[in-house]
């Protein structure tokens, strides 16, 4: 297959178009702006619609409208803009509307900076908006994976009638890597009109309603229970992760996205030194592959979580491992990256029993 050299943000856009997404509503913010710019060029070529909204609030509500019509639709942003979208995301989840939301994370809190970060993990996987709901959260670690997981995201959104978030970071969004496109025939697209979509009461059929309002408490509880049942099915079926040199690992690194690339580099270096180090890389952050991580960690002595945050995913790792083995943490924030040499040294010391890292 032919390889195309692409920027991460553009690979997301191209994958969306290939997956049949014809509507994109966005607002500029670094480091994701290449994605709306790509869609502004690309969507008119395929008869789609790109619209630069007045704000991220506007954009997410336009997504709500187009998704209500049954269309494949996407929006993207970064930290501050994703915070503005949270109201709409809660409504989308409540109304069970499929869509894909991309967060190319930057440094926070507040205006923070435009450097790459992973500090929106908790916002993405634990809610972010109000009410009991979940997003499926996918964490790519290469430009190829940005492409592949974007296509997967549209499938998951339609399968479960749920918003899906792609959680990348400024480095993934900006870097260039070769991508192999999938043959069009291998990309699933919804056939025909979705049976719940509003279209106008065509042919005099009964009216349809898209809503997250259930005024009677019994009914809202029933609705929430139905969502929970859906989330349980997702947890059963949709966990994705990668294991790298885990079989005999004494120290297990756990990291996702750009941190996982650095962690992989550390594993390679330490393996060359003959040290038994492996990497567990969650690809779905929700559902989090907790049991799978616990199984891999069974024969390890220590775990080290590496993040570009002050420690967010580490909470899920600790929950997954239930205190059975020590979980250390190494994080950098503010747009700083985990340092490969430091990380390698940290693992050497852990193995020597020198502790540290906490």
């Amino acid at each position: 297959m032919e390889k195309v050299l692409m920027k991460g943000n553009e690979a997301i856009g191209e994958a969306a178009v290939q997956a049949g997404c014809r509507f994109f509503f966005g607002y500029p913010i670094t480091p994701q702006t290449e994605l709306p710019e790509y869609m502004a060029r690309r969507l008119p070529e395929v008869g789609g619609c790109f619209l630069q909204a007045e704000s991220e609030i506007g954009a997410i509500n336009m997504v709500y409208g187009a998704a209500s019509c049954g269309e494949r639709v996407m929006t993207s942003s970064s930290g501050p803009g994703i915070s503005l979208k949270q109201e709409g995301i809660s409504y989308l989840a409540g109304a069970e509307l499929p869509c894909v939301i991309v967060n190319i994370m930057r440094g926070g809190p507040g205006l923070g900076n435009i450097g790459a970060a992973q500090a929106d993990y908790l916002q993405a996987v634990k809610g972010g908006g109000h009410g009991d709901y979940r997003l499926l959260v996918l964490a790519p670690a290469s430009v190829q994976e940005l492409y592949d997981l974007t296509i997967t995201a549209f499938d998951l959104a339609d399968t479960y009638r749920n918003p899906v978030m792609i959680l990348g970071d400024g480095i993934l969004g900006q870097m260039m890597e070769p991508v192999v496109f999938r043959p069009a025939a291998e990309i699933k697209k919804p056939a025909g009109e979705k049976e719940w979509a509003v279209t106008g009461r065509k042919g005099g059929r009964p009216a349809r309603l898209i809503s997250s309002l259930h005024i009677v408490p019994e009914n809202l509880e029933k609705h929430v229970n139905k969502l929970m049942e859906k989330y349980r099915r997702i947890e059963e079926k949709e966990k994705r992760w990668e294991e790298y040199h885990t079989a005999d690992a004494e120290v297990l690194l756990v990291a996702y996205g750009t941190s996982a690339r650095i962690a992989k580099g550390a594993v390679d270096r330490l393996r060359r030194e003959g040290l038994a180090v492996g990497l567990f890389r969650p690809i779905t952050l929700w559902p989090f592959p907790a049991a799978e991580l616990a199984a891999v960690a069974e024969n390890c002595r220590q775990v080290l979580v590496v993040e570009m945050s002050a420690g967010q995913m580490v909470e899920d790792v600790r929950l997954a491992l239930g205190g059975k083995l020590p979980v250390h943490f190494y994080g950098r924030t503010g747009g700083m990256l985990p340092d490969l040499n430091y990380l390698v040294q940290l693992v050497r010391e852990l193995i020597k029993g020198g502790g540290g890292g906490e």
């Binding site: 509507f23 509503f25 619609c49 619209l51 909204a53 007045e54 704000s55 609030i57 506007g58 954009a59 509500n61 336009m62 997504v63 709500y64 409208g65 187009a66 998704a67 209500s68 019509c69 269309e71 639709v73 109201e87 709409g88 409504y91 109304a95 509003v198 279209t199 106008g200 009461r201 065509k202 042919g203 005099g204 009216a207 349809r208 309603l209 898209i210 809503s211 997250s212 309002l213």
Partner: protein
């Protein structure tokens, strides 16, 4: 029954929950009648908002989307872009459209979105129990302006329709009232023109209705209609502010 008075076919028959003397019901009827007369019920999509009219989808037999507070015009934008062949309308209160949803409605007009907005101005927040709205008139008492709206601290009533009419994307803009039969008939004409404007693809259309909220104004229904005529109309003059050629 007098001639011509019948329930619109588009009514679902569910009893409306509005207070006695509330004019939301009259406005629902006008919209239903015009959609029926234009024969567009199978291509119309309504976008409801948050406020007393949140259950409009229970009463009108149309495809509906319930939007977040203030966001109806952005939702309608997404719908119209996805389904350009449909007729899309929003139904929004003054808190919804003129306070929390100001950015969305302004930019919807700026883009000339081919949708129709029904803007219900009752000078108060109905659903949450009578707080000041951006359209509350000077001196009007509400639960959050207990001494009357003091414009020096709480600002002036906002005239949204005039403001939106200044935008090139706005093709039709009118303010109407429903406090007596003569005005109801004029209001219906405006609803029709707004829909025709959309159908002809001319741009954004808005009809602002002056509407009574006897409950939160603290008056019997008859007094409320009188209060509307005497107090609201001077602040919010009636009439067609912008009308495209060829729309009758």
């Amino acid at each position: 029954m007098s001639k011509g008075f019948r329930r619109p076919k588009l009514y679902t028959g569910k009893p409306m929950h509005y207070c006695p003397g509330c004019t939301h019901g009259i406005i629902h009827r006008l919209i239903a009648e015009v959609i029926e007369e234009l024969g567009v019920e199978e291509k119309t999509i309504g976008v409801g908002s948050v406020g007393c009219s949140v259950f409009i989808y229970e009463y009108l037999d149309l495809d509906f989307i319930q939007a977040a507070h203030g966001r109806a015009s952005a939702v309608a934008t997404g719908v119209k872009r996805a389904r350009p062949d449909t007729l899309v309308f929003t139904y929004q209160g003054d808190g919804d459209l003129a306070a929390i949803g100001t950015a969305e409605i302004v930019h919807c007009a700026v883009r000339g979105e081919k949708i129709t907005v029904f803007f219900i101005n009752n000078a108060i927040y109905g659903m949450t129990g009578g707080q000041m709205a951006p359209t509350t008139i000077a001196g009007q008492k509400t639960t959050t302006t207990p001494f009357g709206r003091d414009v020096t601290t709480a600002g002036y009533p906002i005239r949204m329709t005039e403001m939106l009419a200044t935008q090139e994307g706005t093709a039709y803009a009118a303010r109407v009232s429903v406090h007596d039969p003569r005005h109801v008939l004029a209001a219906k004409k405006a609803v029709r023109r707004a829909f025709l404007t959309q159908q002809q693809g001319l741009g954004f259309s808005i009809v602002e209705f002056l509407s009574a909220c006897p409950t939160n104004w603290g008056m019997p229904p008859r007094d409320a209609l009188k209060w509307l005529a005497e107090n609201m109309i001077p602040t919010f003059p009636l009439g067609e502010i912008k009308k495209p050629e060829g729309v009758e």
